[in-house]
Point group: C2
Chain length 433, copies 2
């Protein structure tokens, strides 16, 4: 079966999956978790094959680390599924209920998006996570994992398919793609795939975004800023710089550029330097910064670089508004934070910085679905439509309008909508199949 | 100024526009309506220049009709603005408020999308409508109208800009593009334009959708179906067929294909034929249909054709599920309706038909923002993300996450999120600038 046929299979199954009640979807999720635990040995054996092949090809250690799928990771993904089961149903929620006319009732009801295309690199846990998120939200999915994880991905998708189909989910809802060529084909399937979710390196995500007209949920860069305002508590600013930069450097919500108001620079910069250098962070500063502290010079490119490493660029700005302009120019619309004791400045910053997450007096590292309490994270989005910032299950649903009448014709309205009652109804729509 | 610079101007102004309170935006809308009424004579004179030029170029009568902007249309757009003023604020709405930890409060607050690119054909009223919708929702806009309407568009955008800027809206928020070449450039400006809204013919919208990675809000085809179930009230089915097909043929929510359950075909089809032919509708039937009524044969292409004319394709199907399959295969995901006295069949139809609008016992013509009571219509969307079906002001906003802390660091969490309180707060976020 080619990738186009696979997508049609997913679509066919998804129509029915999308209409199933929560209980059936949860029962299938439970069966998947049990299936994975039951076949732990087979999964680990398949993963060993991938690891041995990867080692023999001299694949980089960080990739090997992500590829490894051991007892600990298996337990983690199963616990993830178990907590997913406990989440409330994102599907079938009545968003709006309105009487348009006598016996003519309009309901706006949440429903799955349809067919999700998931393209990810070496992590096998991503496969389980995204497949189960799709199932919970009634979506079908085509998964394309990294070729290094071929055997692990195969057994995992097989277990997920078998367990879910035995539990009553229509066969076909989950499909695995295995070749790079299939990715190119997927990017052109805008009539068969409703949403693409790429997970991987910046350049990988950027490539996907640039080469498809299918909507993409995700983020390429995470160029996050912390602005130390003139009214900042200096010690808090040092602490938040340290946490935002060093708590975990390899993630999208880690700090990359520190902006400092000129009137607080002489107090703040030396303390910041001491703290960050004690954590082995390389500092790169603008000319003015380097008048206060002796660090490497930053070049223009630094302001738009996501280091994902123990490197921080530092710039002194003349005002709050200069900081805002810098962020809106060089940032990636991900997460930006202000440190200040002045509520008005904080409000101005949060109003005018055009990013998914705008923070006041806290670490940029907080922008995360679990920390936000979303329950499960589909990904982080820097899109300006549909879903923004950390995205939970809500990002995998849309809505459908349902109108129930009794032979209502438009010709019976006099011109315009003067005959409409447009009365809000206090009623939940009951979906059933 | 080139189109790229214009987009940067819009962005710069929009950041501030997006943070303005409702009162200021409404005051500007009021000034625009007054400005348009005040300069009615100049507008009509400019429009005359366009009309004369168009006539001399032998432009088709329907285009001329859409191009004409007279006292009646001016009054209509001004009334539209006045009712837009009365709509509640789509911006600054608190969607979620959650305490993450002591003194660490998360708010999900609606905000404008940013820079909207509006590409439309000859209707000057579309310019006023979309510009004021953008202003109400705090968005900046680049408008590209049809070249036939050049003078009308120029004076209208000038009036809108002057009136709004005098009322305190940052200059630059509205820009006019005038050449076809600029459209191609706009399609590549995914870093400067956040959302494209094309209005025009199917082929025009399809072209836009196929040639940009910028999100597009709109619909190309409206291939709407009415399914007459075996449990339908025959007379209601005839009435709804007539209304869906003939009440206004040139619109996207008009009926294009009629599906009929075989067991009701002999009762229904002759009555339907009589009624529709009395309205001068050309019927094209499948083989089985033609055993019951003497009409032209339909060919494969008919099932995926949007006639926008007095033509209707008719197909007899064996069951409810066959009807659903046909719609999901040939439909455009716009509006589809079932006529039946059986609630379970209706529910199955509305659950399994994957369209923005699924109806029961009413005309397809109801799918419209004004009929739905959305107050103002941005457009109709057949997208599967962000906004679906008739789209009101809500389609022009997204949200931003705002997190307020007191020096909170992620390093202070023990592993995972065990320290989070994740308590819902009953509080509206107060935005102010």
């Amino acid at each position: 079966m080619g990738i186009e046929e696979q997508a049609l299979e997913v679509k066919k199954a998804q129509v029915f999956l999308g209409a199933l009640g929560l209980e059936k979807r949860n029962r299938a999720l439970d069966a998947i978790a049990r299936g994975i635990r039951l076949r732990e040995d087979d999964i680990i054996a398949a993963n060993k094959r991938d690891l041995i092949a990867a080692e023999s090809e001299n694949i980089a250690p960080p990739v090997l680390k992500r590829l490894k799928f051991d007892t600990g990771k298996i337990d983690e993904v199963c616990k993830g599924i178990e907590s997913l089961i406990r989440l409330s149903d994102p599907v079938g929620r009545t968003i709006l209920a309105r009487e348009l006319d006598t016996d003519l009732e309009l309901y706006q009801v949440s429903c799955p998006i349809g067919v999700i295309g998931m393209i990810f690199e070496s992590r096998p846990d991503a496969l389980v996570q995204i497949a189960t998120l799709c199932l919970k939200s009634g979506n079908g999915v085509i998964l394309k994992g990294g070729s290094e994880a071929l055997h692990t991905n195969r057994i995992l998708s097989e277990i997920i398919r078998d367990a879910s189909v035995n539990a009553g989910i229509p066969d076909g809802w989950i499909q695995l793609a295995e070749t790079r060529q299939e990715v190119s084909l997927m990017l052109d399937m805008e009539d068969k795939i409703d949403l693409l979710i790429p997970r991987g390196s910046n350049s990988f995500v950027k490539y996907i975004m640039k080469n498809t007209t299918i909507p993409v949920l995700g983020h390429a860069d995470g160029i996050c800023h912390l602005f130390v305002d003139k009214d900042a508590d200096v010690s808090m600013a040092v602490d938040l710089t340290e946490d935002s930069k060093t708590q975990y450097v390899a993630v999208c919500n880690a700090l990359e550029t520190l902006l400092v108001d000129s009137s607080i620079a002489s107090d703040f910069l030396p303390l910041m330097k001491e703290k960050l250098e004690s954590k082995n962070v390389e500092l790169r500063g603008c000319e003015i910064t380097r008048k206060f502290i002796d660090i490497k010079p930053a070049v223009e490119e630094d302001w738009s670089t996501e280091y994902l490493d123990y490197i921080l660029s530092v710039k002194v700005v003349d005002s709050l508004d200069d900081a805002i302009s810098h962020i809106n120019k060089y940032g990636s619309g991900h997460t930006d934070s202000i440190v200040t004791g002045n509520g008005e400045s904080a409000e101005r910053f949060m109003n005018l910085v055009d990013s998914a997450d705008t923070f006041w007096n806290c670490s940029t590292r907080f922008s995360d679905g679990f920390r936000y309490g979303l329950g499960a994270e589909v990904g982080v989005s820097t899109n300006k439509i549909h879903a923004r910032g950390p995205v939970g299950l809500e990002g995998l649903v849309i809505y459908k309008w349902r109108l129930k009448g009794n032979g209502h014709k438009v010709a019976d309205d006099s011109v315009g909508n003067s005959t409409f009652t447009h009365r809000i109804i206090e009623k939940e729509y009951k979906r059933s199949l």
